[in-house]
Symmetry: none
Subunit: 222 residues, 4 copies
DNA sequence: CATGAATGAGTCTTCATTCAT
DNA sequence: GATGAATGAAGACTCATTCAT
């Protein structure tokens, strides 16, 4: 969407202990406020108050409302991708089924670790520079998945790019549905299993006949 | 999200020709404005002006801004579900593969028929009563899919509910990625094929041993 | 001074009777507020309230505070220059002494006609686009004086530009002093006489020996 | 203008070397900031930063923003009057023509010595306690001129008060015009000559028949 | 003495909504 | 029914000033 965007970078890097905790408090408070009153009624003053600070202090660290929301979104998504990345590095060279399972579970775990944030930030992703942030981190996740899939012991893909893009984006919808339905525990488990199946089944379809004893591709040494 | 919601129902049903066209113009204008300036800078005055009407007239048909946005979102999503429903009734009793193919294509076609609207309304879905509307129409789509799958000639599912929920929600993420990337044509085609595969593969995994007259499916091994 | 300047043009041309009076009220109110609390504590809300309108209404006619102040300043100065221009056209072809007398009196009369405005706008001239406005209207006054002096029956100048610039700007200081001192009536009269003398004496010094029967220069035909 | 005024006096007299230089730096920095961003966007923090100090330090020497600006203005104007005073004491007892010439040149020289300050402080003079300061120092200049004129070898005035007031105030307008036009050098010289002429011509008109030993002045006709 | 983070009152400005014409 | 001027509550953001370190 063709909207112009002003500065979104933090105004000052929090180096001191107090500053850091203040900033953290603002992050947390923003999510709470977002969750409680929604994006439309989210105000910088409310966020600051909830964080136990004054608006002025908030503006000491964030140049404007958009930047604050962007930062909160980015931090959340970064946490999620990092969790996924971490999980994926552990299954390099494993069979596709393992990778599929790990990926889905890591993603869901990360998202469900902070249900409030996941729900609250959904609206934020749709506005402002949200799309850009989501896009960027999605891509990062896609890359991570790409790399691991390339090392799958029992398979070879000729279109890793598209495969990983589909996978990385396909989970958000179902997750959203889960969150919207009140994060029913039973449903969560069932959904988790279904997604694993879906991902696994999908990957299998794009698997090229692999050599019986496949060597790791990326890291192989002649 | 626990936000209170005021009235969202249209103030009056447009019965006269002029009214209908005015309302239509407002719908269209709203989407344009949404697309051009984003949800944050969307104003009722702007929408009305773009529609060639006055704010007052707009308020003749919509009790408030939220209701307008809700109506626009609802109309768009309704169009999409209806297209999907229509397509699905045509494949009742067909094999799973046909249903999968039809479903994915109907959904993508419907969404890509009005890319502008699809993009513009993304943000709207995250706010206001957006979640409720999305939820309701998602459910309607799920139901439609459910019913058709139940008639699949070559399969039987024991957990149709979950299966259809996953399918109905899993496409939105990839679609969103497509829209965000500029709706590249080649990518659109590729994505479409991948999604068909994913849906088909996923469905097959949850297929129960079907009645005798079932034909072997293409990729099965004897 | 190198400051950037945003839009200063009125937002909407007041065509209706009500609008016109509202705008007039805002002009008057602005001057009052300016006079009473000074530029620093001048707020758009205060100006609107004093005008018997709401801030919103004010912003319907002026895009921002700067534009409002600029408009008020411009209107005042325009009134003054126009008065001077009008007086000067009446003395075309008259002797220098008459022109000098007319010029000084027209200027002082115009300024003293609305002492409040003259005092209130002094600060405004020093900020924002004030300099530009003052410069532009000063130049207009200079031009008017230039043209009349060129027709003086008993004189000829070789450096009209500089002469008129000096005259047009030399009066503001003494006037300011008068206003600051409470516009003492006796002082006003005395000052008026002194300024006439000063202008006359100055002009005489730059007068070239003129032909006995001087023909109008500008309008003369060979 | 009837505005109330809080304390404007410096909080403490800088006695130490460091303090003095800090204060000097603040003065200079204030003028720079004023020149660069204008009075409206002048902030104490900016001034302090530019001076290489912290806001806190600034507030150590100036009780508030107004006092700072007032001090800066006062210092500048004081420098100017002192220069004029110094020049004038050197021409006591000289002919009017010499006094006129000396006065104008001393004033212009003093003002043009620091063009930046002259321009930057123009806006300040219109606000705050600016009027009071300008008035006070104008009066001091007037007094100085008064005293010298009273000693003029070749003249006697019966209304020295008004004459000196006019002269002291009449130069500011033309000077302002010069500054606004970019301080063109050629124009500066021309203006200087014109102002000398104006002052001289004006003074001559108010000269009373002087004592016997007065020599005829150059332009007088027998 | 210096520092600069924190404060929050005060501004500007927008925009949903109403209602007289 | 249509209009769009008027309203004013609400929110983003700034900045003078303080005070703990």
């Amino acid at each position: 969407m063709p909207h112009p965007k002003p500065t979104l970078k933090p105004r000052k890097t929090p180096v001191q202990a107090r500053s850091a905790s203040t900033v953290d408090a603002i992050y947390a408070a923003s999510i709470q406020v977002l969750h409680e009153v929604g994006l439309e009624r989210f105000t910088t003053t409310r966020a600051a108050e909830r964080a136990g600070a004054s608006v002025g202090t908030l503006y000491q660290y964030f140049p404007n409302k958009s930047a604050l929301l962007a930062a909160v979104l980015e931090r959340h998504l970064t946490t999620v991708v990092e969790a996924v990345e971490a999980a994926l590095v552990g299954v390099r060279g494993q069979p596709v089924a393992v990778i599929a399972n790990t990926f889905v579970n890591a993603y869901l775990d990360a998202k469900l670790r902070d249900v409030t944030a996941s729900m609250a930030l959904y609206a934020v992703a749709g506005e402002d520079g949200g799309a850009e942030i989501v896009g960027r981190l999605t891509q990062r996740g896609q890359l991570a998945l790409c790399e691991v899939l390339a090392t799958a012991r029992d398979a070879q893909f000729d279109n890793l790019r598209m495969v990983s893009l589909v996978l990385v984006t396909a989970l958000s919808g179902p997750l959203q549905a889960l969150l919207a339905s009140g994060s029913n525990l039973a449903m969560a488990d069932s959904l988790r299993r279904h997604l694993v199946v879906m991902v696994d089944a999908y990957l299998l379809r794009f698997t090229l006949p692999a050599p019986a004893f496949k060597k790791p591709r990326k890291l192989s040494k002649p």
